[in-house]
Assembly symmetry: C2
Homo-oligomer: 336 residues x 2
């Protein structure tokens, strides 16, 4: 399988995040990169497709904000990474405020999504990595791995959150449509609901979004990912949420994945995008499923058996010691 990465993505190194009211080292660490790189000996460099495919998914003012957020923070004499901490409660109008603190609150929905000096560079190249992978998929029809980082699936059209800034998988999905695909499906198998992706395509029937994830009444992102969120307008029926209880093992997960596969077969998309998180892993430090390393191969095989041109985009996974093995196990399911 071809695998893509851009070293720019390592430049994003957020320092700390809030946990129980204390600041702890950020879980989405650059060490995750080395863990995955070790199992990808033939990593190819991402190409540059420019801003256009990004602007097809994200609002221009949000992208502009992301690009300058760290500089604006630093120019205001503020130390460390740009840290959002105040938010316009539901119902406030989207004022064009210039103060960086107000902008951080406008565009973020949590305090875990810091803008560090290298963040823009990293997220730009994370999107390019997905686009480079997509090009390979569209050309060859072969399953391809875009080693995206930081994660993207929590980022909406105009918001960041959940360690996510630009939604690389959504950007690739949109680009697939612009490159000749008539329909695309996104099958999100990260531990957390892919709320950004859901929101971006919520009103559309040309992109089917499916997410298997921890029950959001117990786990982040809480406010999205519930079963009654099925899409709206033309998109009604084109969003499928499959939440599972904490402690879910592969046997129970498999049944939900089978339901997702069935929906995918009925939809028969031209291209499949798989945001893959290894945080469903039993030893993940911030998540609570019980998937074992070998299960990832079975999981991938079920998806590979669909026989669809498939782009896999890296999302979460924070058990750094076993992260490479889990990614390798998943990718092996496509080669077997």
């Amino acid at each position: 399988m071809r695998t893509f990465y851009s070293d720019h993505q390592s430049r994003h190194a957020p320092s700390v995040e809030l946990q129980n009211g204390a600041l702890v080292p950020h879980a989405e660490s650059a060490e995750r990169v080395d863990a995955i790189k070790r199992v990808l000996p033939r990593l190819e460099a991402a190409k540059d497709f420019g801003l256009d495919p990004i602007l097809a998914v994200h609002d221009a003012d949000y992208v502009d904000f992301l690009r300058r957020a760290y500089t604006d923070w630093a120019s205001a004499g503020r130390p460390g990474d740009a840290f959002p901490y105040v938010f316009p409660i539901r119902g406030r109008r989207p004022l064009n405020l210039k103060r960086i603190d107000a902008e951080l609150g406008r565009y973020a929905y949590d305090c875990g999504t810091l803008v560090a000096p290298g963040t823009w560079d990293a997220v730009y190249w994370s999107a390019q990595t997905a686009l480079t992978g997509l090009e390979a998929v569209m050309t060859s029809g072969e399953a391809t791995f875009a080693f995206c980082r930081p994660p993207g699936h929590h980022a909406g059209r105009d918001y960041m959150g959940g360690y996510s800034y630009l939604n690389a998988a959504a950007i690739a999905a949109e680009q697939a449509l612009r490159s000749g695909a008539e329909t695309v499906a996104v099958l999100d198998v990260d531990y957390h609901h892919g709320n950004g992706t859901q929101d971006i395509f919520y009103g559309r029937n040309d992109v089917l979004t499916i997410s298997l994830h921890a029950d959001p009444s117990m786990d982040y992102p809480f406010y999205w990912g519930h079963v009654d969120e099925t899409g709206q307008d033309a998109g009604d029926g084109y969003n499928l949420n499959l939440p599972m209880a904490r402690g879910t093992e592969w046997s129970a997960y498999k049944a939900q994945l089978a339901a997702a596969i069935e929906r995918l077969q009925a939809f028969a998309p031209d291209v499949l995008i798989v945001p893959f998180g290894a945080d469903t892993y039993i030893k993940d430090p911030i998540s609570f499923f019980a998937i074992e390393t070998a299960d990832y191969t079975s999981m991938a095989r079920m998806i590979a058996d669909l026989g669809l041109p498939t782009l896999i985009c890296m999302e979460g996974g924070y058990a750094v010691d076993d992260l490479g093995a889990n990614v390798a196990a998943f990718l092996n399911g496509f080669s077997a």
Copy 2:
């Protein structure tokens, strides 16, 4: 002047808050209490008016949340004070989620408003202190000081933020109407815009809300307090925002206060409520006006000259060393 306080209010002692991405000791400290108590030798204890007047202003589910938030957080095995950190970005429906983290995000709009073990007790009695003061005003017509704490003017009908949980001034305003007043005005002279009070009465013409504050395009709470927010529906024209630039001295402040006084004279309310913050003070550590201690007496005199039955509710003010003197200077303006 009669002055009221409840010792329950000292039980709210939030530990830390975010500043530049680091945790620092919380500015709304219990030391503020001692600083003010020193200048109030004849402090009387607040009476208990029960929950009814609180529920006339705040939603029942929000009050219920506040009451149990710390216990829910602690029962979930979480250390320290309940600390909000993830928020439903604009447009998410108000789900009835049980997980304390999701509820904190639902009801808070920032990360500075922790729920500590004594918070409910303190905010309940802060409201009772305002109600006790109001009763004295309604009975005697004399200006009265309700030493409320923590601050309240950033709290809306169903949200907390800006160190504020229950809006004592708004609760007193509503109670004034229920006690026979036909119209009430709120004149907020804290450094920060009184966004909660504005929101609570935004659609009504029986409560005129006026706020003099730092320009929200530069200062907290950013998303509220702009000049074009004039009220809506029946309340259109009954909200007046008078933002001022950082560095504003008494001479410039006085001109804005004169405009507020003029509007108050035209409205001729039966009762006036004054949320008073001493954070307009030149040495305030988190604010940026240049009001001097003696100016507070001039400020109060302009308000006292209206000759209205007036309840003063304590809000912010974080220069602890001079806080007592500033409060005393303000209250002296009513006695002179």
